[in-house]
């Protein structure tokens, strides 16, 4: 009898557990009593303590609001946000990149912050390039929190010892790279890059391509903004991209960079061990680099220099990178509170504190840096976002990795394609993605380039 009762009890408990286990999936933001609970997701685990402190201070000023900051590794933020979206909605406030928000904004998952942007525009540096980067279909969605760009970090002592001049133009950088190899009898690799096929080495090529776009005038074409410019009728442009690829290979063949270091750590070690005098590095990782080097190891930084002609023509230069920005989810039940918290994060006081503690580059005019390095970095990154581009289509992984493979194989002589064929094949991959009905259901097509592009030879002598 007792046994039978126990069995019934066990069965009832197990059944109840299984139901509760399923129903427990959920939770999130809400209002408990009169207290508003905001969910805040960021991708800066290295600055989690500071962000907690900022959230606590906000809650101290606003006792009715509790902020729960959650950090997600930088490399997982996209998939985490997508998972959140699928399982109930985006967090009230979250960090993401301005240049990657198009689809979220287009599909109506982001709250627009037009009012904030209009009010704050004047307080942003460089004609508020950064705010414009988060503008989709006439509305603002991203509040730029800090600059995130790639710069060339160099070893000052090595430059002094070898009497090398810090390059100011692309031509000077090329000459310097030859000098590094010659002066060290081939012992040194001029520039450390990292990652595999899509690593920072690809940024060298994308910078060359960017200057082709700037000098040809493509950046002014309406199609350029959504990255669906149809280059099929522009044989001149295709040839310029091919020339850019040939130059990239010339740098690789000359040993300016290698494909050996697989990770950022490896590339960093090459740099700190004096095997390479320069490294292509994200400005926000400089504190990590600084922490690994001794006191006598002094570093300097320059932006990837532009060809001489760019300065002669008085054009803006190009810097690879984007803006780490703050977004508000449209699904947030506390838009006003979320907006207030976002304004707090963007306030001069918090921006100043953030810049001071993390050595980041703020985009607000009133932030003052107490050291030359940060001041220099702010100048170097001033052109970030000068040529905004918002791809309004999804590129398939087949196409993007296919394009990287094409370039990689060309670089390492693993394919028989000519540079022009590589460019054309890459272009075909993009077209295939754009016109893929499942990837891009809006019946998207490539857009004809309507601007008359400038192919004057004197603009491209740096490619030869």
């Amino acid at each position: 009898m007792k046994n039978s009762f126990l069995k019934k009890l066990t069965a009832a408990v197990l059944a109840a557990c299984s139901i509760f286990a399923v129903s427990a999936c959920g939770g999130g933001t809400g209002t408990r009593g009169n207290k508003v609970k905001l969910e805040f997701v960021h991708y800066w685990p290295e600055h989690a303590t500071l962000l907690k402190e900022i959230c606590r201070e906000y809650s101290a000023e606003n006792p009715d609001v509790t902020i729960t900051p959650t950090n997600v590794p930088y490399s997982n933020i996209e998939s985490q946000l997508m998972n959140m979206l699928r399982s109930g909605g985006l967090p009230d406030v979250f960090c993401y990149w301005s240049n990657a928000c198009y689809n979220l904004a287009k599909d109506g998952y982001l709250a627009n912050i037009d009012e904030f942007a209009e009010q704050e525009k004047a307080n942003y540096v460089n004609d508020a390039f950064s705010l414009e980067d988060g503008k989709i279909n006439g509305h603002y969605y991203a509040a730029p929190f800090r600059a995130s760009g790639y710069v060339i970090v160099y070893n000052k002592k090595m430059f002094q010892d070898y009497n090398w001049k810090v390059p100011e133009t692309l031509e000077e950088l090329e000459t310097l790279c030859y000098d590094v190899i010659e002066d060290s009898a081939g012992e040194l690799t001029p520039l450390a890059v990292y990652g595999t096929s899509s690593g920072t080495m690809m940024q060298i090529k994308s910078t060359f391509d960017a200057y082709v776009n700037i000098l040809s005038g493509l950046v002014k074409d309406p199609a350029y903004y959504c990255n669906r410019q149809d280059a099929s009728k522009e044989s001149g442009l295709q040839q310029l991209y091919a020339d850019s690829l040939v130059k990239f290979k010339k740098w690789y063949d000359a040993g300016f960079f290698t494909l050996d270091p697989q990770t950022r750590d490896n590339a960093q070690k090459e740099f700190t061990n004096g095997k390479t005098p320069m490294i292509l590095f994200n400005n926000n990782n400089l504190d990590v680099l600084q922490a690994t080097i001794g006191e006598d190891f002094r570093i300097g930084a320059i932006s990837f220099p532009a060809p001489e002609i760019v300065a002669e023509l008085n054009l803006n230069t190009f810097t690879n990178g984007t803006f780490d920005s703050i977004f508000i989810a449209k699904s947030s039940r506390h838009y006003d509170v979320a907006l207030d918290f976002m304004k707090y994060l963007m306030s001069d006081e918090v921006q100043q504190k953030w810049a001071q503690r993390t050595r980041s580059v703020s985009l607000k005019k009133n932030v003052v840096y107490d050291n030359d390095e940060q001041r220099n970095m702010a100048t170097l990154l001033s052109q970030l976002g000068a040529y905004p581009q918002k791809a309004d289509f999804t590129m398939s992984t087949d196409a993007s990795s296919g394009n990287y493979t094409l370039v990689n194989n060309y670089l390492t002589n693993a394919s028989n394609y000519t540079a022009l064929e590589v460019v054309q094949k890459g272009f075909e991959n993009t077209v295939k993605s754009v016109t893929d009905k499942i990837l891009n259901p809006g019946n998207l097509q490539m857009i004809e380039i309507t601007t008359t592009l400038d192919y004057s030879e004197n603009r491209y002598t740096w490619l030869k």
């Binding site: 059944a15 299984s18 699928r86 595999t196 899509s198 999804t394 087949d398 990795s401």
Partner: protein, 295 residues
């Protein structure tokens, strides 16, 4: 007084009540995902709640055969599977035999040591081997440097990428193969071995003429486990090579389609096709190996 029928009905009822949580679990976490994947594979659903979900027939399957890199990934998986299965089974067999011949006290120690890599998470294994393989500063590079041998760029050189991951995979999984063989070897009647020894059989003779045939059924299990594991392999490739297109095995390709391009419908179609391919290959291998057993 209860009749037998009533008692049986009551027992059945309690049986069902006890089984309910498990049945709910299996339905929710096994059958539902399979059926949902099957349905997804015939739609154009991408991933977000606002994405359309229309029936498009076999278009996703057509795409696999015409445009995708699915078969390129499958070829890479097959190459990896074939090599790892052979190495793992042969090595596991000999390791188990070595263990079998040891004194019991040593057996306990070595069993734990050799099985240990199998219980380590793939993330730990990959971090460890990344350090070992690291060019210039890694353990292997340093060791080979002592003999003035230039180590290759294990994870970077196209010629070394596959051998490198096969070494890691074998190191991680050979312990399980060994344990399964070891259990089977211990189940062999000691009298058979002793009779053979009295009849003058050598150690190799005992190994190949008695132990190998008697444990053939275990070989079937080990081959099938390695094969299925190899074809489904994903974690080590992902952790060691990330987005390297040259090492994109079929599992990684499916993952990239689902979580890189966020095209769930195509990823589901590919996952189901892969499951079918694995089933067919497993049945084929099982049939082939069972013939060996009959011989």
């Amino acid at each position: 007084m209860f009749s037998t029928k009533q008692m049986r009905r009551k027992a059945n009822l309690w049986g069902w009540i006890f089984a309910t949580p498990t049945v709910i679990g299996i339905c929710a976490f096994t059958f539902y995902p399979i059926i949902y994947s099957l349905i997804l594979s015939f739609t154009n659903y991408r991933s977000l709640p606002t994405d359309p979900m229309d029936f498009i027939g076999f278009k996703n399957y057509e795409w696999i055969f015409t445009e995708s890199a699915f078969f390129k990934g499958l070829a890479l998986s097959l190459e990896f599977t074939l090599i790892t299965t052979v190495i793992q089974t042969v090595l596991g067999f000999f390791m188990a035999y070595m263990l079998y011949r040891m004194i019991p006290a040593m057996q306990g120690v070595y069993r734990v040591i050799l099985y240990l890599p199998n219980i380590l998470p793939a993330a730990v294994v990959s971090v460890m081997w990344t350090f070992i393989y690291e060019p210039n500063y890694g353990l292997l590079d340093t060791l080979l440097g002592l003999f003035n041998i230039d180590a290759p760029n294990w994870l970077g050189d196209p010629a070394w990428k596959m051998p490198s991951i096969i070494i890691v995979n074998t190191w991680k999984h050979v312990g399980l193969t060994m344990i399964i063989y070891f259990v089977a070897m211990n189940a062999i009647d000691k009298q058979i071995i002793e009779s053979a020894q009295i009849d003058g059989a050598s150690s190799w003779g005992i190994l190949f003429r008695i132990i190998l045939p008697v444990t053939w059924y275990t070989t079937r299990i080990n081959v099938l486990l390695s094969m299925i594991g190899g074809l489904k392999s994903f974690d080590l490739f992902y952790l060691l090579f990330k987005d390297d297109p040259a090492m994109r095995v079929v599992g990684l390709y499916i993952f990239n389609t689902a979580y890189g391009s966020y095209v769930y419908c195509r990823a589901s179609a590919m996952a189901l096709l892969l499951a079918a391919i694995i089933s067919v290959l497993s049945l084929f291998a099982n049939k082939l190996l069972s013939k060996g057993e009959q011989v």
